[in-house]
Subunit: 320 residues, 2 copies
């Protein structure tokens, strides 16, 4: 059985034909046009290209923002600047193929459950470290979405009450300290105190310091990078303490661009997380790197369809 997985971003639309094992048969990336009608048309055209040849049984779309997955409505997307767009129905009509839509972080955790690091797990917490921090939770085999479909938002837990101001208006959210952009910002802020940092030699212009540079410099023993990475890992460990105690997961998956450096920070997070949880939870979970990485978006989107076909969707009352 094959489906079309669509990773809908503000700049690009990435699409792929994926089967239930996660094999990819076709892949295409196009620019995101302006306006939801044009975006729906573009996705429908991509679907029509492959529907017959691959016998596509459904289209799954993952996109950032607040999604009512039950009604298939994009409530609010800051990236696309949409409000209350009944997008799934629109694509279903234009393509003739049943379309499902879900928040991209929720799609990510579904993708890891179907095809990635959380295969066979019924209790999974997943985080994507990118410009922001997205999160999704599978509990007792199913996605936690909450009564309005806007859960589980894991990146805005307060880990440092008087910490940096976050875009959401709170202070000291995990996202304000541990997203890829926050890591870069912290390093640049503190450069004035560590003017000998090798990071200055690693880039042409100090403005080009990004999370990747920080983690590279950490591996080489740079002091500023060490301070930043330890500070960030401690903040992540504090959030992990909450995730573990609330959801009692088997596995916590770290994804997103910054997960390419997960081999550096996972051991640091593992080391400190026990400080932030009851003893009975210590050793009950694993922290692992996403197995999907580059394909996380399209495979996550594809898994939305498989999840819906398997369980028939999740109604407001939790029954199928």
């Amino acid at each position: 059985m094959k489906v079309l997985g669509v990773d809908l971003g503000g700049t690009y639309i990435k699409a792929a034909v994926v089967n239930e094992k996660g094999d990819i048969f076709w892949k295409k990336t196009v620019e995101t046009p302006a306006g939801y009608e044009a975006v729906a048309e573009t996705i429908a055209q991509l679907a029509l290209e492959v529907i017959e040849k691959h016998e596509i049984v459904g289209v799954g779309i993952g996109t950032p923002g607040s999604i009512d997955h039950e009604k298939g409505v994009v409530r609010y997307s800051p990236n696309l600047k949409w409000r209350d767009v009944p997008f799934a129905d629109l694509v279903t009509k234009k393509s003739g193929c049943k379309t499902y839509i879900e928040n991209d972080a929720n799609a990510f955790v579904l993708g890891e459950k179907w095809f990635g690091a959380a295969r066979g797990c019924e209790h999974v917490v997943a985080l994507t470290f990118g410009t922001g921090i997205g999160g999704g939770v599978i509990s007792h085999g199913r996605l936690i979405t909450g009564h309005m479909g806007i859960g589980a938002e894991l990146g805005h837990i307060i880990v440092e009450p008087y910490g940096p101001l976050c875009g959401c208006g709170s202070r000291g959210c995990l996202e304000s300290i541990a997203s890829a952009s926050a890591v870069a910002r912290l390093a640049k802020q503190w450069l004035v105190k560590y003017p000998g940092s090798m990071m200055l030699e690693m880039v042409e212009d100090e403005e080009r310091i990004d999370a990747r540079v920080v983690f590279e410099a950490y591996k080489k023993g740079d002091l500023l990078a060490t301070i930043v990475v330890e500070y960030v890992s401690d903040a992540i460990a504090r959030a992990v303490g909450a995730y573990v105690q609330f959801f009692n997961p088997e596995v916590i998956v770290f994804g997103g661009g910054m997960a390419r450096s997960a081999d550096v920070f996972i051991p640091l997070v593992e080391r400190r997380a026990p400080l932030y949880m009851m003893p009975s939870f210590v050793g009950t979970y694993r922290i692992v790197k996403s197995e999907l990485l580059e394909d996380a978006g399209i495979k996550g989107a594809a898994s939305i369809v498989f999840e819906n076909l398997k369980y028939g969707g999740r109604g407001k009352n939790g029954t199928e």
Copy 2:
């Protein structure tokens, strides 16, 4: 349909015959004997007293500690000092009546869903403020227990990274700041700075200051009490921010002994909680006082049976 609900504590066993509407037909409290065999015998005797007359269809036991509700095993109970006791089977054998056991905080949230402030809700967060802080979560209509049955532990989220040392070994857990005993401890600690506090006149001996006294003094405008209550409410608000963003609940129920003063601190928590969550979550939930209060233990225990009879228990894989 009637069941026997049993609230098993370290000092007393409280039992009641309860129907699915929450009506109580019979009630009895006895002292908790030493040793799990004697406790099982005592509960079985209570069951045998009422089984025929009330046509009891099951026994539900709520107790503090780590419970494997699926196997009916008390993994670890600090109050009773038990480890790995297959208690539900023991009571089933002695009484001839099918027995279920669950952690008391999980029983509490089930009780509020079946009979209390969360009737008809599918997404509920519940906290009990007592000597410690217990918590339970219903998501998509079902209890979240996690892969080992030890979730959702809500009271040990870190709300102040360098805060007071908690019994669990962490610093600044919600429990270390906002449990009834923490509220009393904070007031007594700070008395030396506020020697004019009216709390000193409200009790014979300053050691007798408890949470109730603090909230009474707050209502009368006492400065120290105001500082304690505002500090505690802010800590609770920070935790509420996490609960709301993770679970997107319709309702958050505050119970336990300290909930008798909930009319004082709920408005304070409501006022500050928006500081600690993304704007999209503001206004999506209600915070309410437990409706069961005195009977929360026995009604919660009774609801364990109704929940199991309705859904047939919850297997490890989330299927029924």
